[in-house]
């Protein structure tokens, strides 16, 4: 429960969230979403909830990033906004 580490991770999470929304290329948006999920997983592990962190690491960072990449391949990579 080191609050400096906690605060640092929280700022990273917010930066990744804003970046994932504003970036134009969908593939990099998927990668930033993976980073966002990974920072969330670190945050929860640091808060003591190891099971949720484990699930978020495997499900959030792992599988849903692959789903986004598969969708970006099957549709178009560029997004207008």
């Amino acid at each position: 429960m080191i609050w400096q580490f906690d605060l640092l991770l929280l700022t990273f999470v917010v930066i990744c969230a804003i970046a994932a929304i504003t970036v134009k290329d969908l593939l990099s948006a998927a990668m930033i979403m993976g980073a966002y999920s990974f920072f969330m997983c670190l945050l929860w592990a640091e808060m003591g909830s190891v099971d949720v962190a484990f699930t978020e690491a495997t499900v959030g960072a792992g599988v849903s990033t692959i789903f986004f990449v598969a969708a970006a391949y099957r549709t178009s990579r560029r997004s207008k906004d």
Binding site: L43, S49, S64, F68, A71, R74
Partner: protein, 139 residues
């Protein structure tokens, strides 16, 4: 100032909720709307997990000296043995929100999977994933 520092986790949850909600409604690209939905759902999960945290040296919700199956086989003796060093609620993190959030994470992934399948069918039907181009084709 103390008022802010004591609850900084909840301010970040509110900021993430606003980002997610804005992206879901205002973004034009359907996959961007979906990314906003993921952020919105993870923000709710972060809210629940931060209700579970306990300061003051609370460890993860796994009892350390529960030494495996062979000790717990003879349950009667076990109860007496356990009375020696009973478990105190104060030095373990609250496990209930963790259970709820395991469910919420899996629900979030399932909704993402279904929404992506819908986006791919929309792309096959309309040839684009941009909201305005689709609405033109419908009119």
């Amino acid at each position: 100032m103390e008022f802010i520092v004591a609850k900084y986790n909840y301010w970040i949850v509110i900021v993430l909720l606003m980002i997610g909600l804005y992206a879901m409604i205002a973004k034009n690209n359907l996959i961007k709307k979906l990314i906003g939905m993921c952020i919105f759902q993870t923000a709710v999960i972060l809210f629940y997990v931060s209700t579970a945290a306990k300061s003051g040296g609370a460890t993860i919700p796994i009892i350390e000296h529960g030494h495996g199956h062979e000790a717990a086989a003879h349950a009667a003796h076990e109860a007496a043995h356990h009375a020696a060093h009973a478990v105190h609620a104060i030095d373990y993190v609250n496990p209930l929100p963790h259970v709820l959030m395991l469910t919420a994470i899996v629900v979030a992934v399932s909704t993402t999977g279904v929404a992506l399948a819908l986006i791919m069918s929309i792309y096959k039907r309309y040839g684009t994933v941009e909201e305005d181009e689709i609405l033109e084709q419908i009119k």
